[in-house]
Subunit: 370 residues, 2 copies
């Protein structure tokens, strides 16, 4: 029997955690009291088995438990997987999901990134150094204004320019007009500079809308797209990745379930569901994420995992340009730095272009120094 | 300009909360610093406006703020709505989303329940009293075993029997075989008793799988279905509700983002997205939800809201049979009680049938006494 191992932190000392662990193992599978499990197949092939209970290494007075679930319980389905990992227990305030070890068949079934780091390096033509990323924004600008901004970033030498995750199919900035204008501007800039910036339009909506936007973007010549897995739902994101013929960037919006460790949710799960690059809020910035969590997240995106491609870590959330050398020492070259506000506080276009060039130059230099 | 009002609790005293409120209003819309908002249209039609900042009535030392967002920012799209309501701020540990007031155009666009309480009363033939609900489970039983259990519940007089939310398209219990067996058993029981129990198969998967399961269930004659909005994603849930020709029950699995008030997430939002009945973990049971939160949740499901149908509150999560009169005094007749474990701890089928009849009788009596 192939096993899916999931770890939880519970707000109990280790001696009391054993019984709690048994409850969680049932809650996440059969969701009935022990006495109601009368069927031998259910007992042996369905109920989770508590494998370890001990003091939590990170938080005093709490315990860490590991439960092994028979992989069959997930039906290898992207929604049912979440249900087994943290469905009902997510509703109990004393439990956090802090670890997940996907077995080979699960990786094979979900597939992970279709392009990953390697595909994104090919798509951008950046072979060695860390990559740069920014966003066209804010919501409210018309397509031509966003395209102009994109052109400025492209000419400054930035590698990837994504839509802000808040750009939807707005009356004041329709999806198709925006993508068309931005892609045209990418081409104009490429003619001038000889380098083609990768523009990633934001796809957002219910599943039918998402797939329609994907078709439009691909038909218009987009070579990457972005979506927010937690806004559209991880299973819809998985379907999007399966259907996309270009790399898919994941944005963390609405991903703030604090009792789901970021390295599990944005690291392991986002990669498993197919994200080629994963934007997250890093330790440098306004979200106050601990360094250890960022390190674990980046590791979960890139470490070997049953043949899954590595996904590109994209720290953002308030990076200041002078922090870049330190940040790159932390994440290494196989990463992409996302700077938005740090550029956009420029007082005019000339300063915006200067800051963008500065951003590109600092990343190139800091990469070379690694 | 139509406005979407959203309230947040922040971990700051009121005098410090004003500036924080301004940050959130920008974070949730333009996501750039104030100085980067240079466009007049953006300033007037996009950025959220802080309407109120004051001491939080529920938690000492915290503040409650209300922000009015121009409705246009949501593009009336189910995913973008979540982004505006609690996208980036969900990633900041000091903020909780505690209130949401959907304006008329948003209600009209999303549509809310297609059947609601009235439709579910029609579908079950229960005109006046509170309804009863239980689940066939656990995961691991074969279709015929689940169908047998369903038959027992139907003959005991229960109104609605849903699949456990963990029943997916498993190798050991395929979706179609399960739904076929259960619906056949519903008919056999109806022939005997003259009353047709409403069976709600669980739909789970990525969007394509979901819609395929919906078609199969409808073709086989299902008169209701269930899905877990937080597992499949709220926008996918909205699309499912729009396509379904039968009432849709919502299950709370994976909905444990603790910084999203349950009455907003499971009350207002689930109804707005189209749930006809909403299962939630109530104050009576093993989840420790406060009574005030349950009251607010049920109110948000049933109170008048721009012409939306009322959705049926379905408290569950560990209801003991002797608590039923008190629980019904709390929720009133327009509710459905979900008892699973309280029946399934029975030692054999005879006791399971007796407990089920007891459950049905107690709800009928307690309803009559209201």
């Amino acid at each position: 029997v192939e096993l899916l191992r999931v770890s939880y932190r519970v707000a109990l000392a280790a001696d009391a955690a054993e019984a709690r662990a048994e409850e969680i193992a049932r809650e996440q599978t059969v969701e009935v009291p022990r006495v109601a499990v009368r069927d031998a197949f259910v007992r042996d092939h369905v109920v989770g088995r508590v494998e370890a209970v001990g003091a939590d290494p990170d938080q005093h007075g709490r315990s860490r438990i590991t439960i092994a679930y028979p992989l069959e319980t997930t039906a290898l389905d992207p929604a049912q997987l979440l249900n087994v990992v943290f469905g009902m227990s997510s509703l109990q305030a004393d439990v956090e999901c802090v670890g997940l070890v996907p077995p080979p068949s699960l990786c094979a079934a979900l597939g992970g990134p279709r392009f990953g780091i390697e595909g994104l390096r090919k798509q951008t033509g950046v072979a060695e150094r860390a990559l740069t990323c920014t966003a066209v924004k804010p919501m409210g600008l018309a397509p031509d204004a966003l395209a102009r901004m994109l052109g400025l970033f492209a000419r400054a030498g930035l590698d990837v320019v994504k839509d802000d995750q808040g750009l939807a199919d707005h009356a004041f900035c329709p999806f198709e007009a925006r993508v068309r204008a931005c892609l045209a501007e990418v081409e104009r800039a490429a003619q001038e500079t000889g380098r083609r910036t990768l523009y990633a339009p934001n796809l957002i909506g219910a599943p039918e809308t998402l797939l329609q936007q994907l078709r439009v973007a691909e038909d218009l010549g987009a070579r990457a797209v972005m979506a927010s897995p937690m806004l559209i739902g991880l299973p819809a994101f998985a379907e999007l990745c399966r259907r996309a013929s270009v790399p898919v960037l994941a944005h963390p919006s609405f991903g703030g379930a604090q009792r789901f460790a970021p390295d599990v949710l944005f690291g392991t799960l986002h990669r498993l569901y197919g994200a080629d690059a994963v934007i997250f809020v890093g330790y440098a910035g306004r979200y106050g994420v601990p360094r250890a969590a960022c390190r674990a997240l980046a590791e979960n995106l890139r470490a070997p995992l049953h043949g899954l491609r590595a996904a590109l870590p994209v720290p953002g959330g308030g990076i200041a340009l002078d922090e870049i050398p330190e940040i790159l020492r932390f994440y290494g070259r196989d990463s992409m730095l996302l700077v938005g506000g740090g550029l956009l506080t420029a007082k005019d276009d000339a300063e915006l272009a200067a800051r963008s060039r500065d951003f590109a130059r600092r990343v190139a230099e800091a990469s070379a120094a690694l």
